[in-house]
Every structure is written in C-alpha cells, then in structure tokens.
Assembly symmetry: C2
Homo-oligomer: 507 residues x 2
C-alpha cells in the first residue's frame, strides 16, 4: 500500500522533478571527495604485491582499459589496479587493508552484467574473483555442489553434467560469467520456472567482510535442511558485492533430465499467449522448464540472419512467438505430454502454427533464434534496454503505453522475455543512431519505471540495480525499507568501501 | 574448517564442560532481572485494551495456562497477558509500546513447535497471530498466494486446492499450525524434496518491527523475479520471531498434481535403502515427491495399533521401511515410472517386499503408519527427541554410536526421517518412566550434537532452536558468524524485547 500510494502521489511530473535529467543521465558522482576515499598510491601497490604475486597485481593499461569498461560500452571507470587473489585469505587481507586505508573496492566477476554493477565509477580498486576457480566436489547423495566463486558457469555445467546433475541456472553469457557474479546479482535466466531462483538453491556461502572476517555460512558443511541461525547468506545474494565478497558457494544441483524437448509456436493475439501459458502449465506440469516470448518485431529483426521455422506462407510474420522447453525423465512420456499440449492449444485456436524440435541441435537452433534477439536489436542503433517484471495481462498494455509515448520519434521497439516468470525485456533503439538521444531517453525514464510500479511490477527482474537503477530504489521501496537496507549495509560495511554509490541510492 | 576445528578442539570432555549439566537442563534464566524487562502492570492492560477490544486482551487463567504450555508439556511459562491483534497496525502499536516500556514479547502461532520457541520463559506478553487470518488472493497466472500470518495451514491448503494449487509445505500438524509459525521456524515437512524449502518459495513478507515500523518487503506487489534491494525478508524466515513479527506473506504455490501414487517398501540392509534412494531419484525423476524412512523398532511400535502391509510371513519385521510418494501430471505415465522403479529396485535385491497404494485412501493409510510413529513412541515413556541432518551414509553409524552410549540403561530407540532430505528424527524413550531421567539425558547431550557436527550434519534440520538448542549455537557456528547474527538482532530489535533468551545463545 505504501509503495503504490507513494508512486501515485509522486505522479509523472513529480517523479521527473525528483529524478531530473541531470540525476538520471549523470552517472558520475564526485566520487573521491564526497565519500572520503583516497586514490591508490605506490605504497598500496607494494602492500598488495606482498600478499599476491607480482603478476596478480595488474597495472597494465590495456588490461585495465578492458576491466574498466562494461560490454555494453555504457560504463567506464578509471581504476589503475586490478587484483587477482586466489584464496579467501588473500581476499580478507586485501579488504582489511582497504577498509583501514579507506580505499574503495569493486568486486568484479565476468563483467556480463547490464547495470554497471561491477565497473568502477572512478578509481576504485578492481578485486577480481577470476582466480578463485576451484571446484571442490558434488555430493552424489544430495547433489550439493561446492566451488569457489570465480568458476565460469559453463565449466560448472560441464562438471555437473559429467556427474548426471545440472547447475540450476543457465543464461546466454554462460561461457564467461562466473558463478560468484551470478550469485551476487541473483541471476535469473530461462529455467527459473523449473528450478527456482538461484537464491533458493544456495545452501551455504563463504563470504569475506570488509574487516577481513571470513564468514563460513554453512559452506564447509552444507545440509539440505539446516535451521540453525539467521539466513545471513541470503543477504549477500543479489547484493552486488556491496556487503561482502562472495568467495565460495554450496549449491543444490538437480538431477540431469533424461529428455529435453522444444517447440517453437506462433500465436496471433497476446491473449492467446496467456491461454497457451496456462495450458502449458496444466498439461506439461512438472516437465515444463522454459517458456519464452518474442514479439513480431524481435522475430523480424532476427529473421535477417536466421531461418525462422514459422514464417507464414506469404512471408508475413506472426504477432507472437513462443519457445517452450521441457525437461523430463522419460522421452516417450514427455513427447506424449507435449503432443497433447499442442493438440489442445491448436484445437482451441490459441496456437496458429508450430514446429517441434526433432533433436538436440534443433533445440539449440530455437534457442539461437531467441538469443539472437539481443544482438539483432543492438545492431540497429543505440539501445535502451529495460528488464522488468509485470503482471502478465499488463505486458501489452505497458508496451502500448510506452510506444505511444515514443510516437513521433525515430525509434524501434522490439520485445521478448521469460514470460512464464512474468519477466519482460523491453527494448528501444534509434535506427542508425549509435549514441544516446536525450529526446528518447527523456520520454522513457522515469515514466517507464513509474508505469511498471503502478502496474504492480518490479523495475529490475533479474539484472540488478548497479549504477543505473539504484536512484530509483526510493520509489520502489518505502522509507522504512530503505532504512532497513541502510542498516544492513552499515552492519557489514561500516566504512562503505565496497562498491560505493551503487545498489543503494546515493546519499 | 573453523567449525570442524572448533568442534575437534573442544572434544567430548570440553564440550561437556562448556555446556555442563546445569546449563543443559536448566532452561530457566533469571529472566526479568538479567534482561531488565519489567512485569506487565494493570496500566499496560489498560493500554492494550485501548488498542484491541477487551475480548482480545485475554487474562483468563485457563486460557493462559494452555498458552503458557507447549504440547510436549516440556516448557512452561508464566505469562499473564495474551493479546490477539487482527491487523498489522495493531501489532505495530503493541510492539512500539512494549519496546518503549521494556516489556518482553513472545510471538505465538499454533504452538505445534518442539523447541519451545513460542512458549514464554517467564512473564513475557504472548502476542498471538491467530486473529490475523485473512486469505487475500491466489494469482491465477503466477500462483502467488497472499495471506495473513495467522492462517491455519490446512485452511490455506483447502483454499489453494479449490484453485488447482497446493501450498509448498505439508506436515502432520497442518490442522492447527499457522503459516506464520511455519515461516518463522522455516518448517520442513515431507515434500521438501519436491517443492523446496518454505523460504525458497516466499516472495514477499509483511513484518512489524519492535519500533512499530511495518516493513512491506515485496508483500503488496509480489513478482516471481524481483532484484531490487537486499533480501531482507529472508532474515525473518526461521528467525522464530526474534527480529520482528511476521504478519503477512506472499508465497509461490505450485500447480496441484493430477496424480499421486505411494508405495510402502521393505529393505533388509541400510545400504539397500541408500541404493533405493538413488534409483528413485533417477527413475522417478521429476515426480518424486517424498521418501520417508522408518526403522524396525518404529514400525514394531506402530504395528500394535496399525495393520502394517509388509510384515514378513512369519510375523517378523524387516529392518528398514520406506514410504515413497510421487506427484505428477499424468496417472498412466506416473504409474509406469513407479513400476519401472520398483522392478529395478527388486531385481537388484534392494527391495525385499513392497506394496503399491491403489487409491488415495491407501496413500493416506501409508502416511498414517508413518505419522503414528511419533505418538506410538511417546506412549512408551518419557521422550528424548532429536531432529538432525546428517550425510546419508552416516545415519546408521550415528545411530549405532548413540545406541552404544545408551547401553546398560533401560531405553528404547526408534527412528524415522525424511531421508531424501538427509533429515533424521532420532528418538529415545524410557519405557514405563514418564519423567526426565538424568542418567539418560547425560548420555545423550551434548555428545549427540557433537557427533552430528563431527559427521558434517546440522543439529536442527527443521525444528528450529527455540529454548532447547540455542545454547549449542556456539559450537555450530564460529565466533564471526555469531557476531554477524548478533548484529542482525541488534539492527532490528535493539532493546531485545522479542522472544528474549531464545534462538541466539544467552549472553
């Protein structure tokens, strides 16, 4: 109630006043002076070299240029030191020193995030987890995987697959993202519906606090059921490295499914999409693993580089496309369920065309279509990307509202999302223009977020807050919740050295 | 590492010294004097009546006698005031007053816990959630249930069943336990393997803090995916009312399975049980919902009042019994899977006898056998009940060790547990003796907990800490973790009015 009242009372005009243009677009606070951090010195480098080997204290300009930039090229820091510890003890010594010396630190994993959470704002020291990459073990009885935070997601997936298990998260950047980054952003991905949130599967963590304490939060010994003490480890999940540095995880991994199926479907109306979703839940039941939605424009853009199996005979493109995947334990049974589901959905007229993957490579090709939406849209111009949750019936109304706000501007809007989770990826680009256009950004923000909240959604479904959405937290949560969050931050990071000016609103 | 070192270095002798007889058995701290709380006065009653109606400020002796006693009759408080607010605003006014006036408060739900978490130690005011019992709604698209904390679990189950969903927790006391109590103890139950922990399914909470602030933690608007801010709501799950009073919850409820099957099986050796468990996971896959274990003695006791379908032809009782349940979406498929699993398990000789339920009433009768273990054991004498997690291969070694420690004493040991979750319920009674026998309790504690920790288990799998296990937290978590927990407690309950001297170790 408090939240919706707040949003209503702020309204469009006041929202704009509170988060004016300067505040929205200027992402550079006067860092060093306002927060009291100092620039790292040669003496600091000498200290870091005494803990790590010389090669793990990186000052090479080319490397640092890469580590200071996110892959969307939207964020750029000026850090001059990259540290690559390989033990939690080394992380502890580094953080303890930085807290004492008032040196700001940005924990960094695979740099695949979209909100600038792991990119320095200014001269923060980059603390990379990439060398913390040991896989300890996978317990054959419980399926609990224990590993260090810097393991690449794809490496963990391969390790688990060899042992008949899978990691309960999967996403496009699996080849470079690290599990510690996935945890610190509470990454979602396509199989959230089937396996639950990453946080739901974490049983234990090892975390290093800024004062050098190493918290073993049910990490050394992990049990499926453990009710001894507060669930402190949950605080570090999705906290974007603002409370401590996650160095290890114990995570529940389900059995590898014996059969996978995928179908690529077309629906005329959005209402049909909602009906198909309900039919899929009831007919596919426990084997429904993913249900992805793409709109006409997204498929049209992808079709330039991909063969889309469901182009209408006259070359026209349908209004809605769905990619459905199942994970089950019995190929024959799963196929029967899929066939019954498709029969029902087509009999009712909700699905107008569809194709079933015949093998794993066809399943891959369906996912290639879905995952090509992002680069296909990015190729057209400067991208304004929004990751939001919405009540399902609101998807179209929200999109219509935002499209009408963009009328008269040279923009392109293409959308897709993990619709079974209520997660929409809303994308606007300016065709041919590859730099920010304030006339577009002004029409989008903050109105877009206000609309999401008014409709009962979340302004960040799975990409986090970082340095792009933290200012908006004030209209997401009421003052009491923000106070509680600030208390948590202070309890763990009293000097505020970890990822300053991110995640929480700037003071 | 820290934990295991600590345990090893304490050893049996030192453990005993640290948690000596007086400390283990005397569960009554000198409450009022040490913590600075005062006894409630007539003026306090006048204030409470000004907030609630007279009938909701209960001083009736008979009612209070019941509310001061837990159902195991192990714990007894002396509270003289029971409050029954029906809104979170009333809870806020009560707590704010109690914090200012230094009045200690025990939040109380259905009083079905086993560790005395909701029973006063002395004169604490009992804050009952029983009148906070509104069910708001179940979202047809997402399956998110929103309700107040005082709803009876069975009522929620019926409400959800009417809407083709189920509550992701089920346990024997469903007829009287409240969802707020389930949340505050992070209750486990029999379907944990299939639906995950209760905490994993909670998307939002409404919580009242001792200073009267009402935190709406994604409660008014809940989305499956929401990455805006720290996961503060997770702190209140399993916290036994020591940080705030949970007044409402938004919880993910899965679709109701269309088919349920159950089998009751017998195994000779414990190693066979482990093999059956692995076969069940791989053959039943996604439909495996519950796998319960009972030992010979437990079944023998139950057989006095129940027809056990698998008594051997000569009347002998097998060494191990398993109850397996599946939840699926297609009866034919599920039956085929079950048959294949049983065929494999019997072919390999891991299952020596078995029976399949033919209908729902037979499924119920299997569960009656399992759920009768508790009362059957309790009827024999004074009960020493332990709820622990253990690595699966350790179950028998742990039981053997504890049995050998009890040799020479007149005791009976019967065991059962949610074995698929690694959750053992270890039970000792003294036949014919219905009061505590220190020669028995001395043999059990603290050695039992030390043995569990040494084997990598948890001393509380699903029953919480309350006033029975909180002292042992010092050997479960290292000093740094305890400091972190104390900081969390202080951040939310600085005066310490909520459930004092419970959950965390007494200072």
């Amino acid at each position: 109630m408090v939240r919706s009242l707040l949003v209503q009372s702020l309204g469009f005009r006041n929202c704009h006043r509170q988060f004016g243009k300067r505040d929205c677009l200027s992402l550079r606070p006067r860092f060093s002076s306002s927060a009291g951090f100092r620039s790292p010195s040669d003496n600091d480098v000498i200290f870091f070299r005494s803990i790590l080997s010389d090669t793990r204290v990186v000052q090479d300009e080319d490397t640092l240029r890469v580590r200071n930039t996110d892959w969307t090229k939207q964020f750029q820091g000026r850090s001059k030191i990259l540290l690559q510890p390989s033990t939690s003890g080394q992380v502890a010594e580094i953080l303890q020193y930085c807290q004492r010396e008032k040196l700001a630190v940005v924990p960094q994993a695979g740099r695949t995030g979209l909100v600038g959470g792991s990119i320095p704002l200014e001269e923060e020291i980059i603390l990379s987890t990439e060398k913390l990459n040991l896989i300890h073990d996978l317990n054959a009885y419980t399926g609990i995987l224990r590993c260090q935070a810097g393991c690449i997601l794809a490496d963990l997936q391969a390790y688990c697959a060899d042992r008949d298990h899978l990691v309960p998260v999967d996403l496009g950047s699996k080849g470079s993202c690290q599990i510690g980054g996935n945890l610190s952003t509470n990454a979602g991905g396509q199989y959230y519906y089937r396996y639950g949130s990453l946080a739901a599967n974490v049983l234990g963590l090892e975390v290093v606090l800024p004062d050098g304490r190493i918290l073993n939060l049910n990490y050394q010994h992990s049990n499926l059921k453990d009710n001894t003490g507060y669930k402190i480890h949950q605080l570090f999940l999705g906290a974007e490295g603002t409370l401590g540095v996650v160095t290890g995880v114990a995570m529940l991994c389900p059995r590898m499914p014996r059969s996978r199926q995928a179908a690529f479907l077309a629906c005329d109306r959005y209402e049909d999409v909602l009906q198909v979703l309900q039919t899929a839940k009831s007919e596919l039941g426990e084997i429904l693993a993913a249900l992805e939605w793409m709109d006409q424009k997204a498929v049209e853009l992808v079709s330039n580089n991909h063969t889309i199996p469901l182009l209408a005979s006259d070359g026209a493109i349908y209004n809605n496309y769905l990619l459905i995947e199942t994970h089950g334990s019995c190929p024959d049974h799963d196929q029967e369920k899929m066939e019954k589901f498709l029969e029902l959905a087509m009999d009712k007229g909700h699905v107008v065309d569809g194709v079933l993957a015949q093998d794993l490579s066809q399943i891959e090709s369906f996912w290639n279509i879905r995952e090509s939406a992002n680069p296909a849209v990015a190729a057209t111009g400067y991208g304004y990307k929004y990751d939001v949750s919405l009540p399902l019936p609101e998807f179209v109304h929200f999109i219509d509202e935002m499209r009408s706000r963009l009328q008269g501007l040279n923009t392109l809007n293409a959308n897709w999302g993990h619709i079974v989770d209520g997660n929409l990826h809303f994308n606007v680009t300016t065709p041919g223009l590859f730099q920010v256009d304030e006339s577009v950004s002004d029409r989008l923000q903050p109105y877009l977020f206000e609309s999401v909240l008014r409709r009962g959604g979340s302004i960040s479904a799975e990409h986090g807050l970082g340095q792009t959405k933290n200012s908006y937290l004030k209209i997401v949560h009421d003052a009491d919740c923000l106070i509680a969050m600030q208390k948590i931050k202070y309890a763990f990071d009293p000097v505020g050295i970890l990822n300053p000016h991110k995640f929480l609103p700037r003071q």
